[in-house]
């Protein structure tokens, strides 16, 4: 709609869009991050009569928006790999310390089935830990936001759970719960829990008092007020917390595997380290990061679907950190 939005995205899209002058708003489903040039046209100026809202972006248009959001990170990655390859291939750093991308790729493909199995284990621990942390964190946040007594009682516990070094209690958890998945999931929960609580409390407390007054004059009970006003109002804060939490959950799971495990990417990392197997080590690191990135993007997509109305989304600002 605006001229300046007709860069990469617009140029390709113009062809397949009849009557080109349409709102290019990323729309509620605009997948994930739609670059920094998120069109200011999401505030659509409508004629005073008739009007109605602009049509939802078509699938083709959305794909273009998505592609547009990808080329910048892709470029950065390409530059990074090129630099890595250059440094490793020229042996500026000894090969047993930094392998070439080719070696890493070879390790990945030859040991693929093994690596996939370990990735699935770590992914499982992470996701389960994250989901539990989100649920527990939300319940705790509600309790803290609604009750002064619970606020006083729970906050110290939450804070204590946060400041105690997770790496230090990992061995204890292994002693208590064995070498299975339980201690890893508990660690992931412990580490991901805090940002959820903090963002949830901040969100629930940020409700405009006038809106609560309004709810009171409507005779609504606390449950209705929570469901229709306080919770949706808290979502932008909460989603920011969940994005931090999901990346931390990976750390929790891997730390758990470091201390005692027979499977998972953390376990593979220790093995590779012991054998001075740099290619495997690098492959493992890449997979760990991939887990974190994929989960983060999933939460981003959930956020785009849940709060398309929020200013942080409208402005096209992605990757909000709490």
């Amino acid at each position: 709609m605006t001229e300046n939005s007709l860069d990469t995205a617009g140029r390709q899209a113009a062809a397949d869009q009849a009557g080109g002058a349409r709102a290019t708003a990323a729309g509620p489903g605009g997948v994930g991050a739609d670059g920094r040039d998120g069109t200011p046209s999401s505030t659509v100026v409508k004629p005073p009569t008739g009007g109605g809202r602009p049509p939802r972006p078509t699938l083709g248009r959305r794909a273009v928006t998505f592609a547009d959001s990808l080329w910048r990170p892709a470029l950065v990655l390409a530059v990074f790999f090129a630099a890595w390859w250059f440094v490793a291939a020229r042996e500026y750093v000894p090969n047993y310390l930094v392998p070439t991308p080719g070696q890493v790729w070879e390790t990945m493909t030859t040991q693929w089935s093994e690596l996939a199995r370990h990735t699935v284990v770590t992914l499982y621990e992470t996701v389960l830990g994250f989901v539990l942390a989100a649920a527990l964190g939300l319940v705790t946040a509600v309790a803290i936001a609604y009750s002064r007594t619970l606020d006083k009682a729970l906050y110290p516990i939450v804070l204590f759970a946060q400041v105690i070094p997770k790496i230090a209690i990992a061995p204890l958890l292994v002693v208590w719960f064995g070498l299975g998945l339980t201690p890893k999931i508990i660690l992931a929960v412990l580490i991901a829990f805090f940002p959820v609580v903090i963002s949830g409390v901040a969100g629930l407390r940020s409700t405009d008092p006038e809106l609560l007054d309004l709810a009171a004059t409507m005779g609504a009970g606390p449950w209705r007020t929570f469901r229709k006003i306080r919770f949706p109002n808290a979502l932008p804060h909460l989603m920011a917390g969940l994005k931090v939490a999901v990346t931390l959950a990976v750390v929790g799971a891997v730390v758990g595997e470091f201390v005692g495990a027979s499977e998972g990417l953390g376990y593979v990392l220790l093995l590779a380290n012991g054998n001075l197997d740099a290619p495997l080590l690098f492959a493992d690191l890449i997979l760990m990061s991939a887990i974190g990135i994929v989960l983060f993007v999933l939460v981003e997509i959930a956020e785009a679907l849940l709060i398309p109305w929020h200013a942080s989304r409208r402005a096209g600002v992605s990757l909000t950190t709490s």
Binding site: T43, G52, E210, D213, M218, G219, K228, W309
Partner: protein
């Protein structure tokens, strides 16, 4: 729409209302010994300088602010907590930013558990009446300030409340739309017999709409005087503006507000 409540007793009673706000830094007396009785079906307009406690007064009637001393009653019952037999239009539109205009209006129905189909029909009527047609789905940030206020007005009218409390509902409107909305509100009031208390900074609005105009002093807010408006119950905007009684009252009000501000 519900019929007017039987015209007996008082719709709103205030006696000796004093409100003091204590903050960490200071103590403010917002209202000082305010007494006012409002009969069912009256349209009382309140004018006064900024910060004299007009918003606070409305919130006390709605049970949202507790007075430091004094008594309030609404529809013959003492006000002890938030009241729900009212429609409240806040000074800020106070809309849910994730809901479209129509959904914002329907919040009233959802929170009260009203009949859905009936509420939807009523919402469409109100949207039509306030000229919001075509913007039913628009989110608050896509609406102008005046349109947001109109959405808030529709929301306050949705359940046809017996008492309507309005805090500068038309402050963000342009002059012409404001006149139209005044005429519309006047019609609604005439047809429903709702008791209305409306705060405004516009003397013309206060006189055109009110059956009584209450003038308040600068902080601490007191009622300096109340003027009965001697205009026909059924008013037409153009006629009222050219009526000599309108001119006289407007001049009196302006003089009173001016001298009150000067003495302060």
């Amino acid at each position: 729409m519900t019929a007017a409540p039987a015209a007996t007793g008082t719709a709103i009673g205030m006696s000796g209302l004093t409100v003091r706000f204590t903050t960490r830094r200071s103590q403010t007396t917002a209202l000082d010994d305010v007494s006012l009785d409002i009969e069912p079906g009256e349209f009382v307009t309140i004018v006064g300088p900024s910060g004299c406690g007009k918003s606070t007064l409305l919130k006390i009637v709605a049970g949202l602010v507790k007075p430091t001393s004094g008594d309030v009653s609404l529809l013959e019952r003492p006000v002890r907590g938030p009241q729900k037999e009212i429609g409240f239009v806040f000074q800020k539109a106070a809309l849910l930013e994730w809901r479209g205009a129509r959904a914002n209006i329907l919040l009233q129905a959802e929170m009260r558990g009203m009949d859905r189909a009936q509420a939807a029909r009523r919402a469409d009527e109100l949207i039509e009446m306030t000229g919001l047609t075509g913007f039913e789905k628009a989110l608050p940030h896509e609406l102008s300030g005046g349109m947001q206020q109109r959405v808030a007005l529709c929301r306050a009218l949705l359940h046809s409340p017996p008492v309507l409390l309005m805090d500068e509902p038309f402050g963000a409107l342009d002059a012409l739309t404001r006149e139209q909305m005044n005429a519309e509100l006047h019609r609604i009031w005439r047809e429903t017999g709702t008791t209305v208390v409306l705060v405004t900074h516009s003397i013309a609005e206060a006189v055109f709409l009110g059956t009584r105009v209450v003038v308040m002093s600068p902080r601490p807010g007191r009622i300096i005087r109340t003027f009965p408006v001697e205009l026909p119950a059924h008013r037409d905007y153009a006629q009222v503006m050219s009526d000599p009684r309108f001119d006289r009252l407007a001049t009196d009000l302006r003089g009173l507000l001016g001298s009150a501000a000067a003495n302060h």
